[in-house]
């Protein structure tokens, strides 16, 4: 089958690739571009491990065709740290023991980032709602919720 070109920015850097038409964004990111931070858990839209941010919105990369992202700005968890310094969400997840096996973590952080981008001081219910499409088999969720609330607090302290 003929290859098709895709071009988008990934964590601020221009990316251009030739892919098989119909390739999911998840497979294009992991297998072609080499960003393995989005995880393939179910490929069915149910686990959230593949979550990425496309033009500011949380999306499931397993159900998104890469070709539909031409010209888009894509953010993944691998783009969050700056100069070796972890993003406040990453720091809070580590400190709160909100990551165990780590398979869900990158998707959780994407969902949490979109929330904090729009709602810097969320309530606990807002955090639960924001993470409701993401499944974790290890932590029992409570440490994750606490980590997001902690990251929100540390953000607002930094801003103050």
């Amino acid at each position: 089958m003929a290859k098709v070109p895709v071009q988008f920015t990934l964590n601020g850097a221009e990316k251009a690739e030739f892919i098989d038409s119909g390739t999911t964004l998840l497979n294009a990111l992991r297998d072609k571009i080499g960003d393995t931070s989005p995880k393939g858990g179910c490929h069915q839209g149910t686990c959230g491990a593949c979550s990425v941010i496309i033009d500011g919105e949380l999306r499931l990369s397993c159900l998104t065709l890469a070709e539909t992202c031409n010209g888009a700005a894509i953010t993944t968890t691998s783009g969050l740290s700056e100069g070796g310094v972890l993003h406040p969400l990453q720091r809070a997840f580590l400190d709160a023991f909100a990551t165990q096996c780590g398979f869900c973590t990158s998707g959780m952080i994407m969902a949490a980032k979109v929330l904090l981008d729009h709602t810097p001081n969320p309530s606990r219910d807002e955090v639960v709602e924001a993470l409701s499409g993401n499944i974790c088999r290890c932590t029992g969720y409570e440490p994750i919720i606490q980590a997001v609330l902690t990251a929100a607090r540390s953000n607002s302290q930094n801003a103050a």
Partner: protein, 263 residues
């Protein structure tokens, strides 16, 4: 996976491409790409159109038109559609709502199709490139539909739109059932018109016509709605799935309909 995507700037050209065998329209992809990931090989080519009207919402003089590519998230945050927001928010989690379109929801089999339940109660029309159909006509024969849905349209009731989704997992769970109702009341409080739509009580959203009839002329009190609740299960044939059995859905339908009507 041999799946190809073809993108067209107009609905007309996309409709022409959809005539070929093995093609399917791509909305948000939450069902169709999911099926491909699961190994569905009946589709070899996905077609989509990027015509701007497909993504537009217009509200004027109580008339609403929602383009087929509009997502649940876009409906939920639209200032003029606030009374519909909870029906749009009933669909999936945040990422699904950023992808799931109105057009795709019209085709979603039970236990999905929550937003379509709302559209059925609102007596929406389903628009295609060269015409429109009442939503009930569309739903009855949606398998044989090969044309791109361009939009849905309806008249916003001044008030009286009610919606409820019952799920086991909060805040985001698949429906045990969903119910939408549009009620008008006379000055004395009796119901003068009623449209009640049910989700998961058949393989696709359906009207509860016996329950609607039983509500006319009655007040919204526990005594007033008793005949309606008794008729709620008329004509239903609910799905049995991992969420609930058909028996269970029929058992709890009157309870939730009662809560919706009295709430």
């Amino acid at each position: 996976m041999a799946l190809a995507l073809q993108t067209f700037s107009t609905v007309k050209d996309a409709n022409a491409a959809l005539k070929a065998a093995g093609t399917r329209y791509l909305g948000g992809g939450t069902l169709v790409v999911r099926a491909a990931n699961e190994g569905d090989v009946s589709v070899s080519s996905l077609i989509r159109s990027t015509e701007p009207a497909l993504s537009a919402i217009t509200v004027s003089g109580g008339k609403v038109r929602i383009g087929a590519s509009v997502t649940m998230a876009a409906i939920a945050r639209h200032p003029d559609l606030a009374s519909l927001a909870h029906a749009a928010r009933a669909v999936g989690g945040p990422a699904i709502r950023n992808m799931a379109t109105v057009g795709g929801n019209l085709f979603a089999p039970a236990p999905y199709g929550d937003f379509t339940v709302a559209l059925l109660a609102l007596d929406a029309t389903v628009n295609i490139d060269d015409g429109e159909l009442p939503i009930e006509t569309f739903l009855a024969k949606r398998e044989s539909n090969h044309a791109i849905i361009t939009a849905v349209g309806f008249t916003f009731p001044a008030d009286g739109f009610r919606f409820l989704k019952v799920s086991r997992i909060k805040p985001k769970g698949v429906s045990v059932l969903s119910i939408a109702a549009v009620l008008e009341q006379a000055p004395d409080g009796t119901v003068s018109s009623a449209r009640i739509a049910l989700g998961c009580m058949a393989d696709r959203p359906m009207r509860a016509t016996a329950a609607e009839k039983a509500l006319l002329g009655r007040t919204l009190t526990s005594d007033g709605i008793a005949p309606t609740l008794a008729a709620a299960g008329d004509g239903t044939s609910p799905v049995t799935d991992p969420i609930a059995s058909a028996w269970y859905r029929n058992e709890v339908l009157p309870v939730h309909l009662g809560r919706l009507l009295l709430g």
